[in-house]
Symmetry: C2
Subunit: 190 residues, 2 copies
């Protein structure tokens, strides 16, 4: 399996020589999944961080009233997983499921620790990644606090114009924090 797509992405933050790329490749596994395949179940401990080479992974959970909420979409080029479960080794409260046929790199905790030791600049890479994730997550909260459902939907369209074709509307609704019913009404209003 060719990891060049991944290395191109990493290269935006840290540059790796061929030896380092080789070491990375030895530490990871490739996973291919069909559409609608769970790669993490609630109650399971998330043993991996996943990099999406192709396809799209959705993270979601059910609240006390069994409403489904979508936490994130991870299309190609994104890392995903369940950070809380992974770092604390506690049972996940979230599902991870492919929306499309997907190809993933997965990296377990031991390999990640080894990676930090072998190639310390990965410590920086993941710190920067976390930083960006945190900024994006903070933005998402601010969107919720500052904007109506209507405005959030428009912003989503602008931010992820390609996802709208790939993801069922009900999942987008559950990401935006509204019901599919209401999203449908919003879309009808123009």
């Amino acid at each position: 399996m060719n990891l060049d797509f991944a290395f191109e992405r990493f290269d935006k933050i840290i540059s790796l020589n061929d030896e380092e790329k080789g070491r990375f490749q030895e530490l990871v596994e490739i996973l291919e999944v069909d559409r609608k395949t769970k790669i993490l179940n609630v109650g399971q401990i998330c043993r991996y961080e996943f990099f999406v080479l192709s396809g799209c992974i959705r993270t979601f959970y059910y609240d006390e009233d069994l409403n489904e909420h979508t936490t994130m979409f991870a299309p190609e080029g994104w890392w995903t997983g369940n950070l809380k479960s992974f770092v604390r080794e506690t049972p996940s409260e979230h599902f991870l499921e492919s929306i499309e046929k997907s190809t993933l790199i997965r990296l377990n905790k031991n390999s990640l620790e080894e990676l930090y030791i072998l190639i310390p600049k990965f410590e920086r890479y993941f710190r920067v990644l976390l930083q960006n994730r945190l900024l994006a997550t903070q933005d998402r909260i601010n969107n919720h606090l500052s904007f109506s459902a209507d405005e959030r939907y428009k912003k989503f369209l602008k931010a992820y114009p390609n996802l709208i074709q790939r993801v069922p509307l009900k999942h987008i609704a559950s990401y935006l924090g509204i019901t599919p019913t209401y999203l449908s009404r919003l879309r009808a209003r123009r």
Copy 2:
């Protein structure tokens, strides 16, 4: 100024010897501010990360309709600042203001980079810190998606029982994403 309180906190993630503590101390500055003092204004670039030795710092912003939203409270033992402005060196969209008379450690970007070089385990320290912040921020989104204002308020009380005495209710309302009016009604309901 005695930084032992800070070192105790750092010690939960990385252990520092006296030499390392000395180096840290040389790289940082101490800042004392009265209550209701702005330590960062909108439009300013946030040049520092702040560690709260005592007191409490509130981060907030105004949306397009000039509604005020509280992003975070940082009581003693917390790091605060404006990550986005700090890492990208862009004008802040948020204010940072002391709620009480506060004592802060501040660390600028150059010193932080130097810290990473002098004491590389700080790279790990801040990675872990970012990780925890990210988890907390994700939790906050989930709270918004899963729970009513009433439930969010109760959870806030449990999570930060001491803040309720120290912080005006309108700020708590703006943190919970509701109006002070509505928070007042919720509180009256029992």
